[in-house]
């Protein structure tokens, strides 16, 4: 780009009019490309929304006035029964704890898996450098399979319960965190590893004592972020599959009118839990990464 902008050949003085011309030319070209991209993007968005509306059961403009109907219905019923809501919230705390446990266990197991996968897939650290592509591809595959697929299949085999959700989320977490962990580990300083190697440390000692202390803050920060994501995922899996607060929500919703006080109680509990976890993890992640 530089040679076009300034238009100057080596040994030649700047030629002002042509310089200005070529600059304007470049600006015009850039604007044209930008304009074409914009037109394509707008066309894609418009036709996309139109297609989506066509294939939807209810249209956008029909649905818009009804948007507030359901929340209003729920809230009026809940307001009428507001006295029982604190008790209902308490009643659903065990389900929330199950959801949080699913998220925590799957984050832990996934992070452990990600640690080994990341170290095995990072150039310069890998135990078997030839197998790096294999470990990378397996992380890609783990990331690509959505949790719901694994969870539903496992529910069929394991007959429900939280284990299916744990395995499903842990596998996905292993792949997703593994990639992030490996990106962090790539930037680690290799001098401690060399030092440890010179005193005869084996591979796991080199990793445990030379690499892990360097990358621990960043890894922990990524794992916390993943925990946040996994809490949401485990609530959703509960709704689609079984177990935890998502399942309670689904049951209350299916019951419909007359149970909206339950729905509101679960909404409130889930909302509070998610906001609290977000805030806490935000705080600790800032602390870990900025080191204050």
């Amino acid at each position: 780009m530089a040679s076009i902008t300034y238009g100057a050949q080596p040994g030649q003085g700047p030629n002002l009019p042509s310089q200005q011309q070529s600059y304007l030319e470049m600006v015009r070209r850039k604007r044209m490309y930008g304009g074409i991209l914009m037109v394509i993007f707008v066309a894609l968005m418009a036709s996309g929304w139109m297609t989506a509306e066509m294939r939807n059961a209810g249209g956008f403009w029909n649905g818009l006035p009804q948007l507030a109907d359901f929340p209003a219905e729920v809230l009026t019923e809940a307001w009428a029964k507001r006295a029982v809501i604190p008790a209902l919230i308490l009643e659903h705390v065990p389900a929330l704890i199950e959801t949080l446990n699913i998220a925590a266990v799957s984050t832990l197991l996934g992070a452990l898996m990600a640690m080994s996968l990341a170290l095995l897939a990072t150039r310069g650290l890998a135990r078997w450098p030839r197998l790096i592509p294999l470990f990378r591809r397996s992380m890609d595959a783990l990331r690509a399979i959505p949790e719901i697929v694994v969870a539903l299949v496992l529910i069929f085999i394991l007959g429900g319960g939280p284990v299916a959700a744990v395995v499903a989320i842990a596998l996905h977490t292993g792949g997703a965190l593994g990639k992030q962990f490996s990106e962090v580990a790539e930037n680690a300083d290799l001098k401690p590893v060399e030092g440890l190697a010179s005193v005869g440390a084996n591979w796991s000692q080199r990793m445990w004592l030379g690499i892990i202390p360097q990358v621990a803050p960043n890894w922990l920060s990524y794992a916390l972020l993943r925990f946040e994501i996994n809490v949401r995922a485990s609530a959703i899996l509960g709704f689609v599959g079984e177990g935890g607060i998502g399942h309670d929500l689904k049951l209350a919703m299916q019951w419909g009118q007359g149970r909206y006080d339950q729905v509101v109680a679960i909404f409130l509990l889930l909302f509070a839990a998610i906001v609290l976890i977000d805030q806490l993890s935000d705080h600790y992640r800032n602390k870990l990464v900025k080191g204050t």
């Binding site: 929304w49 059961a57 690509a144 959505p146 719901i148």
Partner: protein
């Protein structure tokens, strides 16, 4: 810390801090282990082994790569049906019955391969198992009675009204009303054309020559067009519907992510300290972002599907709302970290606020913004599968439907392969766009 006085105090404190670190290094794994043990108890891991249905796993795995053909004789009318997976859509008409089944009047011989065979006749049914002998089942007073070499092995199960034999080559089940043989074969049957299609059971070379040859099977259209439409509307696999569903899922992710980005860009300015001096207003916008993120996609999805009904638009709006919160937060943080010098420079030429934003700010945050948007597009392709299962649209719906029937596992496998391919394709597409747009 001073170096000239390495006092005993310092040595002590270093030793103490080492000891503390060592204690922590042991304590953390112990805490994790204790937590996992607690979780194992609370998840009732002990009873899992009893609840687990490994026969289900076996069915699922064999269905993933093979299919079975049911050869059924109605014991009352004597009528014989041959159907793939026992489905009406996969029933062979009488003139197309595969050659491993030979019918001769009331006698039907089924060759299961490797020396295994089953014969149905007026007296009942016989199965020949190599290395074991002949299993003879015939009805006495309406109930099946088994005659087989003693002792009866455990792969033959005898109940009062039903006898079933399970072997590697196939299964035989005899009940009062019908006798059924299942033959397992590798592959997804009828994947290209169903039995009622004129292209069924043709080899690849035959199909290729048909596609270019002139005598039309259907006078209204060319053979190739007919072939494509027969494949597209395949009743067993519904390729057309499935590809539409994949497209819907990608559409949900694309529309949701892009709309969220477009909505949250202007809102991001309102939530950034350097663009919105009014603290109250800024705080208000930020609380909106927090609220939208906190309510979570699940709840938005539920509320929206009540208003708009099931479909991809509902999913797209749900993704858009949830991500507006996340994008708003990220964009406002990116806006707070920009370099003010460029904005001032643009301002010094007499640019108004809109122009300053367009030429001073946007170019600075564009790389961050695009990277985030593309990353979300990637991860939303996965979320759209789940959201589709809730709102009832896209491949997520097909997947949950196929799983809930608990028998179409080959379709589940097909959808899983497609979903993984779709996610990998979106991954590489967004990676490619990121390289093109950001690093130039």
């Amino acid at each position: 810390m001073t170096t000239n006085t390495l006092s005993p105090n310092l040595a002590q404190s270093v030793t103490a801090s080492f000891a503390r670190k060592r204690r922590i290094a042991i304590a953390i794994p112990l805490v994790i282990l204790a937590y996992l043990i607690y979780a194992a108890i609370s998840f009732d891991l002990a009873s899992l082994a009893q609840r687990a249905r490994f026969d289900n796993a076996a069915i699922l795995l064999s269905d993933f790569w093979s299919h079975k053909t049911h050869v059924t004789r109605d014991n009352r009318s004597g009528e014989l049906t041959v159907a793939i997976e026992g489905e009406g859509k996969g029933t062979y008409p009488a003139n197309l019955i595969p050659d491993w089944i030979v019918t001769d009047g009331a006698v039907t011989r089924i060759d299961l391969g490797r020396g295994y065979s089953v014969t149905y006749d007026a007296a009942g049914a016989r199965m020949i198992v190599p290395g074991y002998g002949t299993i003879d089942i015939r009805p006495v007073d309406g109930k099946p009675v088994l005659t087989a070499p003693e002792p009866i092995p455990d792969w033959i199960s005898v109940a009062e009204n039903k006898v079933s034999v399970t072997t590697d080559a196939g299964r035989l089940s005899y009940s009062r009303s019908k006798v059924e043989t299942f033959k397992y074969e590798a592959g997804w049957e009828l994947w290209f054309f169903t039995i009622d299609s004129p292209f069924f059971d043709k080899s690849f070379t035959q199909l290729a020559s048909l596609a270019v040859s002139s005598p039309r099977i259907d006078p209204d259209r060319s053979n190739f067009g007919y072939m494509v439409s027969e494949f597209w509307t395949n009743k067993m696999w519904r390729h057309g519907d499935v590809l539409w569903a994949i497209f819907e899922t990608i559409l949900m992710a694309f529309l949701g992510t892009m709309s969220a980005a477009l909505i949250s860009l202007p809102l991001g300015f309102l939530a950034a300290r350097n663009f919105m001096p009014l603290g109250v207003f800024r705080g208000g916008v930020r609380r909106v972002f927090d609220f939208v993120r906190g309510v979570d996609g699940l709840i938005w999805t539920i509320i929206l599907s009540r208003a708009f009904g099931p479909g991809p638009m509902t999913g797209a709006i749900a993704i858009a709302i949830t991500d507006t919160g996340s994008f708003g937060k990220m964009f406002s943080e990116a806006l707070e970290n920009i370099d003010e010098k460029q904005v001032e420079g643009v301002g010094s030429t007499g640019a108004n606020a809109l122009q300053r934003a367009r030429f001073g700010v946007i170019p600075q945050i564009m790389p961050v913004l695009l990277a985030q948007v593309l990353y979300y597009l990637e991860s939303n392709t996965r979320s759209a599968t789940v959201i589709g299962a809730i709102v009832g649209g896209g491949i997520g719906l097909l997947l949950t439907q196929a799983i809930s029937t608990q028998k179409d596992w080959e379709e589940v496998a097909y959808y899983m392969v497609l979903i993984v391919l779709m996610v990998m394709m979106m991954d590489s597409l967004s990676g490619w766009l990121r390289r093109k747009l950001i690093t130039g």
